[in-house]
């Protein structure tokens, strides 16, 4: 793993470690309701400073915390048009199945490729360090997956073109 990737993931892990301090907090406006405050942003005293961690111009990570929920949005590096399309399709595939992941958000935040929403209920059911491990592992694996997909598309394209053009030889 290159050094800058290692530092980027270490920074995100440390920030998540500090930011994932969530507790149950019923909604202040509507009684008997319990909503993730980071999504609604109605009361400023419940929100902490949002943190933007950029690795370079193309990759960044936005971490917004509140008293009972945390939202992590990622922008994945996309070098060319093909990677652009592959990333969009792949992450859309994952986001559609967000219920299986529990902490995934169905739609990414504007300007990012994928978003996670962790609430206090997730922290109660699951272990905090495992959640952080999951998110950091996800970031590592996304890059590998996208390059594998790109390679398989190029290989398939080359095979098909070779077979097709053989008939003209």
């Amino acid at each position: 793993m290159s050094n800058s990737l290692r530092l980027y993931l270490a920074c995100i892990r440390n920030t998540l470690d500090a930011a994932l301090c969530l507790q149950n907090f019923p909604c202040q406006e509507v009684e008997r309701h319990n909503k993730p405050e980071v999504e609604l942003k109605t009361s400023s005293e419940l929100l902490l400073n949002p943190v933007l961690i950029c690795r370079n111009e193309a990759e960044k990570c936005l971490i917004e915390t509140s008293i009972n929920s945390l939202r992590i949005s990622l922008k994945v590096k996309q070098a060319d048009e093909l990677e652009n399309i592959l990333t969009k399709k792949f992450l859309r595939f994952l986001s559609m199945r967000a219920e299986a992941f529990q902490v995934l958000r169905r739609k990414p935040v504007q300007g990012y490729d994928i978003s996670f929403l962790v609430t206090n209920y997730h922290c109660e059911e699951m272990q905090k360090h495992k959640l952080i491990d999951f998110i950091v592992q996800f970031m590592e694996d996304i890059d590998k997956e996208i390059s594998e997909l790109k390679m398989s598309v190029n290989t398939r394209g080359r095979l098909v073109a070779t077979e097709f053009l053989k008939q003209f030889m």
Binding site: L7, C11, D17, A19, L48, N49, L52, C54, N56
Partner: protein, 135 residues
């Protein structure tokens, strides 16, 4: 009443900017002598933390940015920084990370890792929780 308050604030902003310019001259001379750690300390002390004037904050940020980019040996830096300076440094590191400029981000990530090892995640949490004194 509001008019005089604005006048007083503008005065303070000018005074702060003058102070920042003086600090930056002192810091440049320290950097020329390769005393990068002291340069960083000078830049961090007396940073304008009030959320009033963006110009003061940008001016101070430019200065601190120069000092951060000049640092080569990260470990030697921490022996002379007191806890308050570490907190202010963490705020400037996150500001550097949000710029998206590759060398700034690389350097900020490097210092961030060492600083967190040294000070712990309390420093990060203090940055997250401090909505009043921003950089």
């Amino acid at each position: 009443m509001a008019g005089t308050e604005e006048f007083v604030e503008a005065d303070n902003a000018e005074a702060i900017i003058n102070r920042i310019e003086q600090k930056s001259r002192k810091m440049e001379s320290l950097l020329k002598q390769y005393r990068t750690v002291e340069a960083l300390k000078t830049a961090l002390e007396g940073s304008p933390l009030n959320p009033k004037d963006d110009r003061c904050k940008s001016a101070n940020w430019i200065m601190v940015h120069r000092a951060i980019m000049a640092i080569k040996d990260v470990d030697a830096m921490f022996s002379s920084l007191d806890p308050e300076c570490c907190d202010i440094l963490m705020k400037y590191l996150y500001r550097g990370l949000s710029t998206g400029d590759r060398p700034t981000c690389d350097q900020s990530l490097r210092i961030h890792e060492k600083l967190t090892e040294r000070v712990g995640s309390g420093c990060i949490l203090r940055y997250l929780a401090d909505i009043v004194n921003t950089v």
